[in-house]
């Protein structure tokens, strides 16, 4: 909510010229989301300091956003940190209030624009995802001295730990224009949020404000990713534009994407195994239970021996995504005849599922609370009763081999449990005997001598 820019250059009051504001006046500017106050708490020739103070009206803000109906009902809109933090509102305010300085104009003394000044910047409160180390990661390559003070969430409840908010102090000697550009881009990057809808125009803004420093920044990709709130399509376009102007930039994929790819291939391995077994069993109709966005369905469609393929999921939204991924509306009639998507739940009996040769549940069971798993068992083994049932689930033992995973934690937020090989085998044994099936278990993915493979699959037949 507050940005303070201080310079200790000789003739420090020239800061007023640069910013286009008189140091002895208190000014106010109306903005769409509230007001900005501009004043100079210090203004002598040795030290001059300008303040941009925002007054954001949360209530008006949320009432204005009625268009976005569901969103405006978020409880958070009234009880909101936005009025108190430095966020994209502050970037917008910088552009509106210090526009000429940001664009490198100075009516009074154009020579000042390019002149490096000793500057101190204070911003409060800054929400930072990634904490102090992230602050250093983005500001130090631009040769800032970073000093950030963190706070606790609530001093009465020390057990709640630290808050994500900092009072950030930066020091550097640079032209003011450059500093403002850094701030304009990096304030929303720290917070990974924006108060307005982002579209292609956002790329133009980034190209303009990032010119000359962003393309060589070692964290270019992460900054850009956060700047677009992790919207991949915009990120890709922006990176192409930035990098095409600068061929020296590092084009290698970052670590995150690599891990993503590894996961993808594990997922593909599961699907390949499933398809192989289904073909061995000479299955012609298949149920994909918990089909999610339809990757396995897509794979199954490629095999003409599967004449009836049905995907089911509990989430309507996910099914919509699956439809899009499968090009549902432009599918050829022959293909369309073979596939069906159903909204349904595996904790109920569902008559629609009762005449399939095979049912597959890839990485599904771990999303049930353990006491509810018996409902899934019944629904699948007692009622659906396909001749072939394939179930895959993570192997918990393997988790120790994931570098980025806390060994106490599970692989996904919504995983209610993960099983060791023994636990999975015991469960499979019990289910097979309760419902009259035979079963065998297959490991999926590279096998470790001690911990086994990352994923495991049980094939039930009767």
């Amino acid at each position: 909510m507050i940005l303070q820019i201080t310079t200790t250059k000789p003739n420090a009051r020239q800061l007023g010229y640069l910013l286009g504001k008189h140091p002895d006046r208190v000014q106010e500017k109306s903005l769409s989301f509230g007001k900005a106050h501009i004043f100079f708490p210090e203004a002598n020739e040795n030290r001059c300091s300008a303040v941009l103070l925002l007054d954001i009206d949360a209530v008006t803000l949320s009432r204005q956003q009625k268009r976005n109906y569901a969103d405006s009902f978020q409880l958070g809109h009234y009880v909101n940190d936005r009025p108190y933090v430095a966020s994209s509102f502050l970037s917008t305010a910088i552009a509106k209030v210090f526009g000429s300085a940001l664009n490198g104009n100075c009516k009074h003394d154009p020579a000042l624009v390019e002149q490096p000044l000793p500057l101190e910047i204070t911003i409060s409160a800054v929400p930072v995802r990634g904490g102090l180390s992230f602050l250093k990661q983005i500001f130090e390559p631009l040769s800032y001295k970073v000093d950030a003070q963190s706070t606790v969430l609530d001093e009465q409840f020390p057990e709640w730990g630290l808050s994500p908010y900092f009072e950030l102090k930066l020091q550097n000697t640079l032209p003011l224009r450059d500093v403002l550009r850094h701030l304009y881009v990096l304030i929303p990057v720290m917070d990974v949020n924006k108060h307005y809808y982002i579209d292609e125009q956002e790329i133009e803004k980034l190209l303009a404000k990032g010119k000359g420093w962003l393309e060589n920044h070692p964290s270019l990709k992460q900054i850009t990713n956060r700047y677009f709130k992790r919207r991949q399509s915009l990120l890709r376009k922006a990176l192409n534009s930035i990098l095409s102007e600068n061929n020296d930039a590092d084009c290698s994929k970052d670590v995150k994407e690599e891990t993503l790819e590894q996961k993808l291939s594990l997922h593909e391995q599961r699907h390949e195994k499933v398809v192989t077994i289904l073909k061995q069993r000479k299955v012609s109709s298949v149920l994909d239970l918990g089909c999610s966005s339809g990757k396995l369905l897509h794979r199954l469609l490629k095999e003409s021996s599967f004449q009836k393929i049905t995907g089911m999921d509990i989430s309507l939204r996910t099914l919509e995504i699956a439809k899009r991924r499968l090009n549902w509306d432009s599918m050829t009639p022959k293909k369309r005849e073979r596939i069906e998507l159903l909204h349904g739940s595996l904790t109920y009996r569902d008559k629609r599922l009762e005449a399939y040769d095979a049912a597959v549940a890839v990485e599904v069971i771990e999303h049930f609370d353990l006491p509810r798993l018996s409902a899934f068992e019944q629904s699948l083994f007692r009622y659906t009763r396909s001749k072939t049932i394939i179930i895959t689930t993570p192997n918990r033992e393997y988790n120790v081999l994931f570098e980025n995973l806390d060994p106490e934690k599970l692989r996904h937020n919504d995983h209610r449990f993960e099983w060791t090989r023994e636990e999975f085998e015991n469960w499979s044994k019990r289910v097979a005997s309760d419902y009259g099936y035979q079963f065998y278990i297959v490991p999926i993915g590279p096998e470790d001598e001690e911990y086994g493979a990352p994923s495991q699959m049980a094939v039930f037949t009767r």
Partner: protein, 847 residues
């Protein structure tokens, strides 16, 4: 000619084109009852005479007929119906829905038809000739095709003078409203029957003159009527006397009786048919041998008059010997009769060489209560709104009656074992874990739920989908979920300076609704918790069909488990169980399970994430930033800038953030052990056989106070009753609220003194909350008390929230009522899911 048809049947018109079928049908039936093939053909093909549209036309005709018959509506198919194939498919449709197929054929002289055709439709003359010949020949084939009853109208006069008489089905006694005493299989146990009738308050007089009234006169208690589920005879010591008694009661209009398989078999034997004299028929024949021939004739008349089943009390009660599926109720066909008499078997033979019976009651989901017998069980017990009253008296068990509508059971133990059962009598038990699963098809899509408190509550498809997802992914075992609480609306917005909500508005609302007395209950700031608790695990298994999940459960308002730690939950439930025992509540309510509506503290126990990410975070950000702002403004002021106003404004903001932090801190404390929790029950919602919504809130509060005295982990709720015409009492309540909320309390809930309160306009809000000024900071943000902000906030609409509250309340009570009267569990689940669906309607969450 008088054409007599049952009120529900499938009528086929038959006759040549232009023979006057449509005119006839339109004269005698409602236009909505007639499906005209001409009209259907026009609909599918734009013209009445397009021949190649025949298949499509009849597909439509059949579809409409099917939908109507499924609903139990008389249906007339107005087509030529001259082809045997066409008629046969209609007959099989009638069979499928267990209704009589009836045919009315017009067979007028050909010249007359030719003449009509010439001025009308103008088909070729040979077509008409062909039709006419077909019609003439068809009548001979009808019987073979399975058409029981047909009428041939072969003169214009007959057509003109024909009248149609609709007679009610034999089984339709819907106008009989009871009360009834429904008595299980007697099997000749005369002494026990007499004793049971006397226990039920009937006066039985035996006449010396055995001719008089079949030898008995029975005087029932005022207005009551006995209903027998059949199998009066065989095996027992005095089937003849049982027949005399029941026949006398029926003659006097004091009893109804449906046919049992033994009764039917006896009739066959008496009619000279060849039947095997087994299963106790020999005893009956022996006992009847001493009776005069005239009585035997009466017995034959009585037995042949017994119908397969009765629909009583407006269709709410069904009596059938072996029970009856919903789709057969009120229908007539040999299939229905056979189901009523013998039930259905699975085709398997059990270890005693007897056919295994299909447990139709397990899947029963009908609205009507079904009382039946046929299969002996040790105890009459409810299953899906059905009850088997055959408690094996003749096998040494007892003779049982169920009083309707009271649902009370009354029985007399057998004097001796008259007959050893051929297989042991076991309860109709469902293997644990093998009870039928809830079927998704019963809950999908848009549907309407009729509740006692409010008819036709619509559940929209999109909301329903969201509810199914929540239920499947997050909820506890659905068998626990017999109730979800309704949302609660705040009081109307106050215009008093500095306030958004104030008790006066709530009092005004209830006054306007004609409520005389309200109760104000302190609102605890914790999390809503619904508690199901049983005396022990066995009680839970028996009533909820849940095993190995403890003595109860605590779940949130959306059906999620309240505790991640199951042991903590059970420990808390054990404390509650002890308190219930010590307060004698099990005995008082005559139950071994109870459902409570509670608030569980502290708030921070459940809402930890929300608190940290939302409330504490906003407070931390505000304090941090405003500290800096104040310092900077002080500097500016010191150097003489005119920032006085700005300083004041931001100092106020700082103070409000401080107040905001204090507001939420009130409701947080660290939880390290069970002792740190507080459970505050405020409704005793239901227990075995009862929904306690018929009691006043004072009744609830009294019992809860006694309960909370037993254990300090339980927190009694402070309350005050207020007469709304007493201004002093109102002022006192306002003062109480002010004191509570200024101490940091959340506020209070104001309810009509009665749990369920109706006004002229319908249901009154069951509760209205009135939240404190400081508490609302955590809802509306730290700065909401500034008058300019209040002005904006006062523009809030309550009507949607209130409508939701009423609908959810009605659904909640309905679900419980269904549960306590042992409706099919799917009927309970439907209500619970509907509440969850309502909760996904978008509504301002700050209300």
């Amino acid at each position: 000619m008088k054409i007599e048809i049952p009120e529900l049947c499938l009528v086929m018109m038959m006759g040549s084109s232009s023979s006057g079928k449509s005119t006839f049908a339109n004269r005698h039936f409602k236009s909505t009852e007639i499906i005209s093939s001409d009209a259907c053909r026009a609909m599918v093909a734009d013209h009445e005479n397009v021949r190649d549209a025949n298949d499509a036309t009849f597909e439509v005709v059949h579809l409409i007929a099917e939908k109507r018959l499924e609903r139990g509506l008389l249906t007339v198919v107005d087509a030529t119906n001259l082809q045997p194939e066409g008629r046969k498919s209609l007959v099989s449709l009638a069979r499928k829905y267990h209704v009589f197929p009836i045919l009315i054929g017009l067979n007028l002289p050909e010249p007359l038809i030719q003449e009509r055709n010439a001025t009308g439709r103008q088909l070729l003359a040979r077509v008409i000739r062909h039709h006419h010949r077909q019609a003439k020949h068809s009548f001979r084939k009808l019987k073979k095709e399975g058409i029981r009853k047909w009428y041939e109208l072969d003169t214009l006069e007959k057509v003109e003078k024909a009248t149609i008489l609709r007679r009610p089905a034999w089984n339709n006694k819907k106008e009989e409203q009871g009360p009834f005493d429904i008595i299980g299989d007697v099997h000749g146990c005369f002494a026990e029957l007499r004793a049971l009738l006397e226990k039920l308050g009937y006066k039985v007089t035996k006449h010396r003159n055995r001719e008089r009234n079949y030898g008995y006169t029975v005087l029932p208690p005022k207005g009551r009527k006995a209903v027998f589920v059949g199998d009066l005879v065989d095996r027992g010591p005095a089937s003849n006397e049982v027949l005399r008694l029941v026949m006398s009661m029926q003659k006097a209009g004091n009893a109804l009786c449906v046919a049992g398989n033994h009764d039917a078999k006896l009739l066959k034997k008496l009619n000279g048919k060849n039947v095997q004299v087994k299963h106790g028929l020999a005893e009956t024949l022996e006992q009847l041998a001493i009776e005069p021939a005239s009585f035997i004739e009466e017995v034959k008349k009585f037995l042949s008059g017994l119908v397969s089943h009765y629909m009583l009390d407006g269709g709410r009660l069904v009596i059938a010997h072996a029970g009856l599926r919903e789709d057969m109720q009120g229908r007539m066909s040999s299939t229905v009769r056979s189901f009523c008499l013998y039930g259905e078997t699975t085709g398997e033979i059990d270890e005693f060489g007897l056919p295994v019976r299909y447990q139709w009651a397990e899947d029963y989901q009908g609205e009507a209560m079904v009382a039946y017998g046929h299969t002996p069980v040790p105890e009459a017990s409810w299953l899906n709104n059905t009850i088997d009253l055959d408690t094996g008296c003749v096998f040494g068990g007892k003779l049982t009656a169920m009083r309707y509508p009271e649902r009370e059971l009354c029985s007399i133990a057998a004097k001796k074992v008259y007959k050893e059962p051929s297989r042991p009598i076991v309860p109709m038990q469902i293997e644990p874990g093998s009870e039928p699963m809830l079927s998704l098809q019963d809950f999908m899509g848009r549907h309407t739920i009729n509740t006692r408190l409010r008819p036709n509550i619509v559940v929209k498809e999109a909301h329903n989908h969201a509810a199914l997802e929540t239920m499947s992914r997050f909820a506890v075992n659905p068998r626990w979920l017999i109730y979800l609480p309704p949302t609660m609306s705040p009081s109307e917005t106050s215009t008093q300076e500095g306030y958004l909500e104030h008790p006066l508005e709530a009092f005004r609302y209830f006054s306007q609704q004609g409520v005389k007395e309200v109760i104000c209950e302190e609102k605890h700031m914790g999390s809503r918790a619904i508690v199901v608790i049983g005396k022990n695990e066995a009680a839970i298994e028996k009533r909820f069909a849940i095993t190995n999940e403890g003595i109860g459960v605590i779940y949130t308002r959306t059906g999620r488990p309240f505790f991640d730690d199951k042991n903590m939950e059970q420990a808390l439930l054990y404390r509650l169980k002890e308190a219930i025992s010590n307060a004698n509540l099990w005995q008082e309510l005559d139950t071994d399970w109870i459902l409570f509506d509670c608030e569980l503290m502290p708030w921070s126990a459940k809402a930890q994430q929300l608190l940290k990410n939302q409330y504490a975070a906003v407070g931390a950000a505000g304090s941090l930033a405003l500290n800096t702002v104040e310092q900077v403004l002080a500097k500016a002021e010191k150097r003489g800038l005119t920032v006085k106003e700005l300083s004041n404004a931001y100092r106020a903001k700082h103070e409000q953030v401080h107040q905001f932090r204090n507001a939420y801190r009130q409701y947080c404390w660290e939880v390290q052990s069970l002792e740190d929790y507080r459970l505050a029950p405020f409704h005793i919602l239901a227990s075995e056989g009862q929904v306690h919504a018929d009691k006043t809130h004072n009744w609830h509060m009294d019992r809860i106070e006694a309960l909370c005295d037993q254990d300090n982990i339980l927190l009694a709720t402070d309350y005050k009753t207020v007469q709304l015409d007493d201004t002093n009492a109102i002022q006192e309540a306002v003062n109480w609220w002010t004191a509570l909320t200024e101490k940091g309390g959340e506020g209070m809930v104001i309810k009509p003194a009665n749990f369920i309160q109706q006004s002229e306009k319908g249901l009154v809000q069951p509760a209205v909350k009135c939240r404190g000024r400081e508490y609302l900071r955590i809802i509306y943000g730290p700065e909401y008390t500034q008058e300019d902000k209040l002005k904006q906030l006062r523009k809030r609409g309550l009507s949607h929230k209130r409508s939701m509250a009423i609908r959810e309340f009605a659904l909640g009570i309905e679900g419980l009522e269904r549960f306590v009267r042992y409706d099919a569990f799917s009927k309970v689940h439907q209500c619970v899911l509907a509440v969850l669906a309502m909760e996904s309607e978008p509504v301002d969450p700050r209300l």
